[in-house]
């Protein structure tokens, strides 16, 4: 029987969040195709276990820093889907008043220090947020999400080194979905495990199955304790897969359909978790249906909220630049 992580305190809520993320992304995709969302978007369908596994173990005062592929992180950290959707529609009620869009959603009240459009841009910022925790003795940890591609940026290297020598409470969480846009880890990184890059900084590094939320929860639990016990940063590499293309215009010529099918059919993080919960008699079919129903309603409401919201005023163009 599948082992459930003890770190997951509320499995049904956890599952609900994963399903909420998936539905949110599917809806975003649909709205995009309908021309209701413009610009670009990076969907995290297939990667729900990392976002939820990590954030479900964080306190409200713990912080996250997210990426261009950040909707899941946001939702998992407690950011509301209605105002997220409003942001994607560029509305005034959006988290960024329509100024940020998909790549810049932030919710400081919930400890979400924001997505980032610059690959690896969030890592040094995360180190700084952890420095505040250390200097002011606030006791929070910072979890910084980033992709496999980001680990080839200089900022990754510099940030991990700085966090290590200053022994800061930050967790570097790499969502290795095998591709950075089109560049595969096989071509772009000459080692098997990105987690081994931790060895350059003398910090723990661990590779886990990022589609098994129990592994995610266990790893993050350990890393949080490590950080809160003043033992410094950890690098976690979670193997996962994005089901969709990198962004709207990706024909996915760089990977084959077999591989996609394998991940979709046999390693769907939501299906796996449902199976595990059922095996452990924690979830009934009825409960699952309830969750799905609740999610659908929530997403519908979010879309309605977003569509009903007003556009930002033209005057707002020049507001919010300086504090």
């Amino acid at each position: 029987m599948a082992r459930l992580s003890k770190a997951i305190k509320d499995p049904k809520k956890t599952l609900y969040q994963m399903i909420l993320i998936r539905s949110f992304e599917e809806k975003v995709e649909q709205l995009f195709q309908q021309g209701k969302i413009h610009g670009t978007m990076h969907l995290c369908i297939g990667q729900e276990a990392t976002a939820v596994g990590v954030c479900s173990l964080l306190d409200n005062q713990d912080k996250i820093i997210s990426t261009h592929r950040g909707h899941g992180h946001c939702i998992a950290k407690g950011t509301k889907v209605d105002r997220m959707m409003a942001e994607l529609l560029g509305k005034e009620t959006g988290y960024c008043k329509g100024k940020g869009g998909s790549m810049h959603i932030a919710d400081l009240d919930k400890g979400n220090l924001g997505a980032n459009g610059i690959v690896a841009g969030g890592l040094p910022i995360a180190v700084g947020a952890a420095l505040t925790s250390h200097m002011k003795n606030l006791g929070y940890v910072v979890c910084c999400f980033f992709g496999d591609g980001a680990t080839n940026e200089g900022a990754f290297h510099e940030a991990l080194n700085l966090a290590s020598i200053w022994n800061l409470p930050v967790i570097f969480f790499c969502e290795n979905n095998k591709y950075a846009m089109s560049g595969s880890t096989d071509d772009m990184i000459n080692i098997q495990k990105i987690a081994d890059r931790s060895k350059s900084y003398g910090i723990p590094g661990i590779t886990i199955d990022g589609n098994n939320i129990n592994e995610v929860a266990d790893a993050i639990d350990t890393a949080i304790k490590h950080a809160k016990n003043n033992k410094g940063p950890t690098l976690i590499e979670a193997e996962t897969y994005r089901w969709r293309g990198h962004s709207r215009s990706d024909a996915r010529k760089y990977r084959d359909r077999e591989e996609e099918k394998e991940w979709r059919d046999n390693r769907d993080p939501i299906a796996l978790f449902i199976e595990q919960l059922k095996e452990n008699n924690i979830l009934t079919d009825g409960e699952l249906e309830d969750i799905k129903k609740r999610v659908i309603e929530e997403i519908e409401e979010a879309v309605k909220f977003a569509e009903d919201s007003v556009e930002p005023s033209i005057n707002s163009l020049k507001e919010d630049i300086y504090a």
Partner: protein, 325 residues
């Protein structure tokens, strides 16, 4: 003449140069089988293979330095920088290394690199993917800076840039990629440092760069119906700048409006305005030299706000009218 898009023109220039000269190759993020973030290199990987169309990891600092080392030892690399905003990570290599190497070495070594990169707003990519930062690079001696506004210019200027023995920043524009015009099939050069008067006129000179050339031409067309006769000058290369063509035009019209997409403050339009102000054209001016640039804001996501953040045909027309009073 057959019509092709700006995107196709850029690609064609690269392909022709790569066929002609084995030393020319291209590197960049996702330019391989993916064809580049905007599709500019589509098909080139299949045609030239992975050695000459080199897909790189996401590491702007390594790749912008790598092209320098390759150039100084005999290659002629083209670097595609995925968004011009990412110059922020390549700045050291471009400004402190490539631009200065020859001078620091007392006239030894050459750095024939072309950094192609798309700038500009209007695609909904928000603050970190929509900037027009070309002014930064115009400030650095040792670089040349090109900003083509049409398919024809893009092809001829890119050939010139690739043939150039010095580092060239080549600013493309996301919204121009799809624009079409007649472009010769054979290879041709538009020399760097030559402006072009895109439209003759006598009442007022607009000096416009990049996509603003197109918007200014549109504005001029509409204004002509109102009896205002605008001349539109496109510098095409920002460095070196063809001052003569600009000054000559302003002398003729007595009025000049400089239109650019970049943030107005400290954008390259300020340099153009200053060049005019300190020249002998001063005595011919019937009105103050005016600039119409981007607002002093990061580019917002909302499409209407985004539109308002940079000059549009209507705001260009308004600015002209104000000057004609």
């Amino acid at each position: 003449m057959r019509e092709i898009t700006y995107l196709e023109a850029v690609k064609e220039a690269m392909i022709q140069e790569m066929k002609e000269n084995d030393d020319v190759f291209i590197m960049g993020e996702d330019i391989g089988i993916y064809g580049g973030a905007f599709g500019v290199t589509n098909g080139m990987f299949e045609e030239f293979g992975p050695e000459r169309v080199r897909n790189t990891p996401i590491s702007e600092s390594a790749i912008s330095g790598c092209v320098i080392g390759a150039a100084v030892t005999g290659m002629r690399p083209i670097l595609e920088l995925q968004f011009s905003d990412f110059i922020t990570i390549a700045t050291d290599n471009i400004a402190n290394q490539a631009a200065k190497l020859r001078y620091m070495f007392g006239g030894k070594g050459k750095v024939p690199i072309v950094v192609r990169t798309p700038g500009g707003s209007g695609a909904g990519f928000a603050a970190q993917h929509s900037q027009s930062l070309e002014a930064w690079m115009t400030h650095i001696p040792g670089l040349k800076v090109v900003q083509p506004s049409s398919p024809y210019d893009a092809k001829g200027l890119l050939k010139a840039a690739i043939d150039e023995d010095n580092p060239v920043m080549f600013y493309e524009h996301k919204l121009l990629y799809g624009t079409r015009e007649g472009v010769p099939e054979e290879s041709y050069t538009i020399p760097l440092g030559k402006a072009e008067t895109k439209k003759e006129g006598k009442d007022l000179t607009i000096v416009a760069t990049g996509i603003m050339v197109q918007r200014s031409l549109k504005a001029a067309e509409l204004l002509s119906k109102e009896g205002v006769n605008i001349e539109v000058v496109d510098p095409r290369t920002l460095v070196p700048l063809d001052k003569d063509t600009i000054l000559h035009s302003v002398k003729k019209t007595g009025r000049v409006l400089i239109v650019y997409e970049a943030v107005k403050r400290s954008g390259y339009g300020a340099e153009i305005a200053s060049v005019i102000a300190e020249s002998d054209v001063f005595d011919y001016l019937d009105a103050p030299i005016m600039r119409l640039g981007g607002e002093e804001v990061p580019i917002p996501y909302n499409p209407e706000l985004e539109r308002k953040a940079v000059p549009q045909v209507d705001t260009i027309m308004d600015a002209v009218k104000e000057m004609m009073i």
